[in-house]
Symmetry: C2
């Protein structure tokens, strides 16, 4: 194990925390850009509570609304322009992963004179790695991406049909304010997608890691078990505040670095492939993950059998004949896919109306955006274009 | 779950990391006070490698050596005076928990004009809560206290026979540099004590928590299982670098807040009791913990049975008749005590030559230093003086 870890975000967790937004924000600025998505935070009254809390703390609020589910660089530019025009010194993200991701890049774009798209990986090398950003406070309104407590963001470019990411230390939020009460109005399907999203974040580092990382493995398994226990409860009864809290905490730790620190993850192949598919079709990110992840698992289990056997044993209590028992590994993947179906996620591309026409294009495009020095998609194992096509075909 | 969490320490982990000390230190200062303990870092050559790495980065090094195993406030004062006299702008701790704890308080004492003992809790209220400190880099040479990546320190006062703690955000190290190679020379007994120390840190928050914290429980159990698997390997073969690395990682996450965030721990009763006993007899901290923890567990299991049943099931795979199965809970505690014995820890006060003469004094003194509004020692359950006496008698 050889690694570096840093996460300087202050976490404030608990029902009712939204009322502390102004107090938290006051430490960092006086003029806040409040970024939101499609309008549900206004309908639910959350927006007004957030704005009032900021106003009570003497903070002037400017708005950037309408960030899309797959947030676009055009929204980033619009938000950055509003922040600049009004001399904002603080960004507050109130919404889901897309709002938080857009807010991170807005926070950096305000202090960058070039084109904000320069900051997003889209073929090597990255033209501009951000090194400074306005202070950011994240207030997630659903449990899914974990964006609230990490330094990554995924942004789409509608013109070039690209969807890719940026990761930089300056993008860590100063404060992540997690109030599970805000998530009780999330509908069943979005709740299920959140559970799928967070589990997929975990399986990516779990299965693509170096192995011999016992603590990281136990952490990952613990969060998956918890998400599989409390996720269905939150879906069945949206007002179950304890289930909402457990799922939200699971989503945050799934991607704040605690599980992946030292795991030596070689890459995030499922996410990389999904990004391409959703760049072409604007599908819900977690629906894409639910479809691609089990297909990828069946591919990866052939060469990394022992880890998939461990997964089958510790998550589903299955018996194995040995660490090379591919039948046990496969049975674990079947059980995982069945869980995704049981909470209402699609597990085939055809369920989204997609067929095989563009499969080669998705694969080529995925590898164009991210590849190692051998031209392969990083992961365990690294994937050729044919491997990606094979996984996508298996997911038809 | 309602909590706040922050840990801004940058972690650099891996065999060979010591060579990066200068590079890391250069970000924070030009004149470093290098704090060490009893001399083993000089005999092993680690001190010279650290000093050279700092010198190569253009940093002038001043020394504070001879910090005691239970670090004294007198050493803190001596270190702070050296740092002030030489206008140090950075503290580097190279040693075990005592060196790191002393270094934290030195870092704050340099910037505080009053008596540094003001900063240590010793009866309410605390005269001075530190709010600023020089930047600190920790380089642990053994895996035990987890002090490398938290903001707490425990300091003793030989004159007043007090041993107590301070916790403040300004005491977080800027960098924790963990090089498992530095721990291969740690003798068997100290390695075992480190394993006991780290597990006790975990059991304190695990058993004194609010319950219904499934993720925190899984994390805690995962680290305990790992420490029980790799600890004996590191004891059996000190040169097993992977075992050393796993134990070191376990010690760090045991007390960096990841396991306790949101667990709602009511207190650290085992530590509080041990602090008093070792303030009187200068015993090895972890030896005291190995003795007091099983005795405390038997006391606490009577009222918090379900959690001890979970421990017995998940750590030792024991079967339970139900969550109120005190026999199962007790069997788990027996197995835990047997593990401590198996790695060479004492489990009775008599093994350290201590008898019952001062038991009432220890109990009174423990409660004088830390008590809740009802005069009880915080924990689950809160303890009266008679409860503390009972636990200590059971540990004779």
């Amino acid at each position: 194990m050889k690694f570096e870890y840093l996460n300087p975000t202050r976490l404030v967790f608990g029902a009712g925390s939204l009322s502390r937004l102004g107090e938290m924000a006051g430490t960092y600025g006086k003029r806040a850009l409040l970024v939101t998505g499609g309008g549900s935070v206004k309908r639910s009254g959350t927006f007004e509570r957030a704005r009032n809390s900021l106003a009570d703390a003497g903070i002037t609020v400017f708005e950037c609304e309408g960030v899309e589910p797959n947030p676009r660089i055009s929204s980033v530019k619009r938000g950055a322009a509003t922040a600049r025009d009004n001399a904002c010194d603080l960004i507050v993200a109130l919404g889901g992963g897309s709002v938080m991701d857009a807010s991170k890049v807005i926070a950096a774009a305000v202090l960058y004179d070039g084109d904000p798209w320069d900051m997003i990986h889209h073929g090597q090398p990255q033209p501009h790695v951000p090194t400074e950003a306005l202070p950011l406070i994240t207030v997630p309104t659903l449990a899914a991406t974990g964006s609230e407590m990490n330094c990554g963001a995924v942004i789409s470019n509608a013109e070039t049909r690209e969807k890719s990411f940026v990761q930089a230390e300056c993008l860590y939020p100063k404060v992540a304010l997690l109030d599970p009460e805000l998530t009780v109005t999330v509908p069943k399907d979005q709740t299920a997608y959140g559970v799928c999203d967070l589990i997929t974040h975990i399986t990516e580092s779990y299965f693509n890691g170096t192995g011999d990382t016992p603590i990281q493995d136990r952490f990952a398994e613990g969060v998956i078990l918890t998400a599989m226990e409390y996720g269905p409860k939150a879906i069945a009864d949206g007002n179950d505040l304890n289930a909402r809290a457990q799922v939200q905490w699971a989503a945050t730790v799934a991607l704040n670095g605690w599980l992946s620190a030292g795991s030596g993850s070689a890459g995030y192949p499922v996410h990389m492939i999904e990004h391409t598919v959703s760049a072409f079709h604007d599908i819900t990110h977690a629906a894409g993950l639910a479809i691609i992840n089990p297909a990828w698992m069946r591919f990866a289990a052939k060469s990394n059998t022992a880890k998939f056997v461990q997964f089958a044993q510790r998550i589903f209590g299955l018996d194995a004949k040995g660490s090379d028992d591919l039948d046990c590994a496969s049975a674990g993947i079947d059980r995982f896919e069945a869980f995704l179906k049981s909470i209402g996620c699609p597990t085939r591309l055809s369920e989204l109306g997609l067929d095989d026409r563009l499969i080669e294009t998705y694969a080529k495009e995925t590898l164009r955006i991210v590849h190692d020095e051998n031209g392969l998609l990083p992961g365990r194992p690294a994937m050729s274009e044919a491997d990606v096509v094979g996984v996508l075909r298996a997911a038809l």
